[in-house]
């Protein structure tokens, strides 16, 4: 498949669209990438001008990052999928790789990104009745101000 590719620090990064994700992952699985190592997300709200994005890829607020590995050729590949801010939906990779079940639940819990066709999309790290998605940039860290700091520190 023809997706924009970037080489960064010796690692190959592909940038598929959301609609191309399942096809690309199926193709990679047939090529020999037999394990999804990691599935995570990044919220680029405070850093919209991110690095290493090819020109024909439209940057969105969220990005889902999937890392895969091919044990035979010892090669790794990373997929960065741009997800829009309103109604973020990504197709779930569960049918190809059941190991993504917990990882997608964590991304849902921390970022609020929905995975369509996921068997059990519920909160995994926070309590079930928690409101908000903690790793989003507009969710405050909830720090209790420390009494002795007279001036407002950077953090």
């Amino acid at each position: 498949m023809n997706v924009p590719t970037v080489e960064t620090f010796g690692q190959r990064v592909l940038h598929p669209e959301v609609e191309e994700l399942i096809d690309l992952v199926t193709e990679l699985k047939q090529e020999g990438f037999n394990m999804v190592v990691d599935l995570t997300a990044v919220d680029y709200l405070s850093f919209p001008a991110r690095k290493n994005l090819p020109e024909n890829v439209k940057p969105e607020r969220f990005e889902v990052v999937v890392s895969m590995i091919n044990h035979q050729t010892r090669k790794r590949v990373r997929l960065r999928v741009q997800i829009q801010e309103e109604n973020p939906v990504v197709p779930s990779l569960f049918d190809l790789y059941p190991g993504t079940e917990s990882m997608e639940r964590e991304v849902f819990d921390m970022f609020g990104i929905n995975f369509s066709d996921h068997p059990d999309l519920t909160r995994i790290l926070m309590p079930e009745d928690w409101v908000g998605h903690p790793l989003r940039k507009d969710f405050s860290i909830g720090q209790i101000p420390v009494q002795f700091k007279a001036s407002k520190a950077k953090r």
Partner: protein, 200 residues
Amino acid sequence: MVRVPLIGDLAKVNGEGLEGLEHNFITARIENLVKWSRARSCWPATFGLACCAIEMMATGAAHYDLARYGMEVFRASPRQADLMIVAGRVSQKMAPILRQIYDQMMEPKWVISMGVCASSGGMFNNYAIVQGVDLVVPVDVYAPGCPPGPETLMHAILTLHEKIQSGELTRRREENSGGAAIEISESPREIIKPVELESR
């Protein structure tokens, strides 16, 4: 050498007679006997959460032996335990369970808050960690450290034993209606709101 006291002699006989008993054995008050035995056989409940749990297990192992204080039996059931050593960081999801275990323990019960995460939230001043378990259960001894080494934990345990034996804790509990009751009332001061981070 045991000095046989006069009947009216209720002075403390330190270092003579049975070790650890302040009073002469013949005239010992039952209360002191009870306090002595409570301090000597304090069974901890397993409440190891995170890194401090590993150090708690190390304290119970052969090198830093907790069995010398009679405490190597970590009871799984809270009904059989006297002491809850909260070892590790308490998250928002875990706090109700901590309270439930504490409520299931029988009186008299004591709590040692082990490590900075249990005492004050530690290095994690954020949305996920309860900033000190004394917001959830009443704590008797705080042991600082990240994680506190076995020597620090033993010092905390010995401090607790001294407090049990002197009766200070039971006295305080009676004043506070049993210790298990925590009063929650409206605070007249302004509530501190969490700091909103400015966006970068």
